[in-house]
């Protein structure tokens, strides 16, 4: 589905953010990308849709080589990749509905979008998605009136209305409380399953990554240092990714009251592994 070949990004300041990444994400797979701040997680997913131009290497989405596309072709390719952001990145002075419909801009002509005359089909789909994320009653609220969790759900709806094949998710829970974080992660993963979407989720919360992703990739200083299932992610691996630390503490942080049955089982599994 998505394939990165020897992807290198060197910023103009000379910082080498990615040092030749080879990575393949098959269709329908939810992959968590973990690593310390500055490891290159954000750069990596932004190189996929070329919000950041890679210095060298190639990116394939299906059969399309993203890295070789002209501006116009890139626009068409971006429709196939929905992006969800840290801090939500909603356009604050637009309404919830306008924010969701902005996910259809790549499919809509300029004047239609200027006058907000989106096809009825898009409007139906927007309402259906808002209903799915339980926000259909908020359609005409301005985005800056919403709480953090609500905003992120609008962000998710905006990404999904693109009818993407791949979700690029950048720290979706970084500014949310632990409970909302879980709800958002669960929602993203459920939606990926419903629509058979592949996803790359940048996340610095290791525990959340282990709970929700089927595959974990650890990035350290622009290099992949771990690639495997969540249950092989022991303290030794975490140390190679993040450096020396007492990793049992990561597990103790979780508040038990907020966990569902499933999460509690997950947690027991982690505890037994840590000890």
């Amino acid at each position: 589905m998505l394939r990165l070949e020897k992807l290198v990004k060197r910023y103009r300041t000379g910082d080498l953010a990615l040092t030749g990444i080879d990575l393949e994400v098959p269709g329908g797979q939810v992959m968590a990308l973990i690593g310390p701040s500055g490891a290159g997680k954000s750069t990596l997913i932004r190189c996929v849709n070329r919000l950041v131009e890679p210095t060298s290497g190639r990116v394939f989405l299906g059969d399309t080589e993203i890295t070789g596309l002209s501006k116009g072709q890139l626009r068409l390719a971006r429709r196939r990749m929905g992006m969800i952001f840290q801090e939500y990145a909603l356009v604050e002075r637009l309404t919830v509905m306008e924010n969701v419909l902005s996910g259809r801009l790549g499919y809509t002509g300029f004047w239609r979008s200027y006058f907000r005359k989106f096809p009825q089909r898009d409007i139906n789909e927007a309402f259906r998605l808002l209903e799915r994320v339980s926000l259909d009653h908020m359609a005409d609220k301005r985005a800056d009136e919403l709480s953090g969790g609500q905003r992120q759900r609008v962000g998710i709806a905006r990404a999904l209305i693109q009818e993407p094949e791949l979700l690029l998710v950048d720290e979706p829970t970084a500014s949310l409380d632990p409970k909302t974080s879980r709800q958002i992660m669960r929602l993203i993963c459920e939606l990926c399953e419903e629509r058979e979407l592949a996803a790359i989720i940048n996340i610095h919360d290791v525990l959340l990554a282990e709970m929700f992703a089927e595959r974990i990739v650890g990035l350290q200083a622009g290099t992949i240092v771990y690639d495997g299932p969540p249950d092989r992610l022991g303290p030794d691996v975490l140390t190679t990714i993040y450096g020396e630390e007492d990793w049992t503490a990561t597990i103790d942080k979780v508040d038990e009251d907020e966990l569902t049955e499933e999460e509690l089982r997950e947690r027991e599994r982690l505890m037994s592994r840590a000890s």
Binding site: N49, A77, M81, E92
Partner: protein, 267 residues
């Protein structure tokens, strides 16, 4: 390793680290100010003389006479308002492309430099100078004033629009770009909502400035209430001039109040 802990000294680091530079700047500024104030030439007897003259001048404004030149005053105000509305609209319309071009995060370097140059040139010349130039070019009358105010608006509004665009939240802009939006769609969906409220407020502010400047522009031949005001002074009709000034003050205050209200409403 025993006994009372040693006091550690702390002071806020000075703004200029080099003490020599710091003190020479202080002393230099002090000496300059002392000399500058020392050389202000105050002619005390002339001031004493001037006070009654000033009083007579002010007194001749009262009572303001709204009626005997009502026709001319109305025509002047009407012309000034016409000049203000048209020059604000045309000036803002012209400054939108200039402002977009002068925003570093939007435009390629060549366009950026060209648009910044337009803004700089337009800002260098005050309205009066522009008005004198256009009066020479197109003759007396409000058309010259209209052109002068339009051009001045381009510099003012273009610069502020560019700066507002440069200050926008890049993440919101990035999110809209990631959906596959075209450049124009991106402008409408990501940039416009972020800058619009401030630009509406600044548009009203510029309307206010253009109205006040229309009086100044009129004095050099650009038509409008300025011309009426000048005529009143030339004829020593200070009571009519007072009426005109009061009307200008009234209109400026009305615009100011309205713009404050509108700005609160669009936020």
């Amino acid at each position: 390793m025993n006994g009372a802990p040693v006091d550690r000294h702390w002071r806020r680091p000075p703004f200029i680290a080099n003490p020599l530079l710091r003190w020479s700047l202080f002393v230099g500024a002090g000496v300059y100010l002392a000399l500058a104030f020392g050389t202000i030439d105050v002619d005390w007897p002339r001031i004493a003389d001037g006070v009654p003259r000033g009083q007579r001048f002010i007194a001749s404004f009262f009572p303001p006479d709204f009626t005997s030149r009502a026709g001319e005053i109305f025509e002047g105000i009407y012309e000034s308002l016409w000049m203000t509305v048209t020059s604000t609209v045309v000036g803002i319309a012209l400054s939108i492309p200039v402002g977009l071009g002068a925003a570093r995060n939007l435009s390629p370097r060549v366009v950026y430099l060209a648009c910044r140059a337009i803004v700089a040139v337009s800002r260098t010349f005050p309205e009066v100078i522009l008005a004198i130039f256009f009066v020479k070019l197109f003759g007396f009358g409000p058309f010259a004033g209209f052109l002068a105010l339009s051009l001045a608006t381009v510099g003012f509004y273009g610069k502020l629009l560019a700066e507002d665009i440069e200050d926008m939240d890049p993440v919101q802009a990035e999110a809209v770009r990631a959906t596959g939006a075209s450049w124009w769609q991106w402008l409408v969906y990501a940039v416009l909502p972020q800058v619009l409220p401030r630009m509406i407020g600044l548009g009203l502010y510029r309307f206010d400035i253009n109205f006040r400047e229309s009086a100044v522009v009129g004095i050099v031949g650009g038509g409008g209430i300025g011309a009426t005001l000048l005529t009143a002074f030339d004829r020593y009709e200070f009571d009519s001039a007072a009426a005109i000034l009061l009307i200008i003050i009234g209109i400026v205050m009305a615009v100011e109040y309205t713009s404050g209200f509108v700005r609160k409403w669009v936020q």
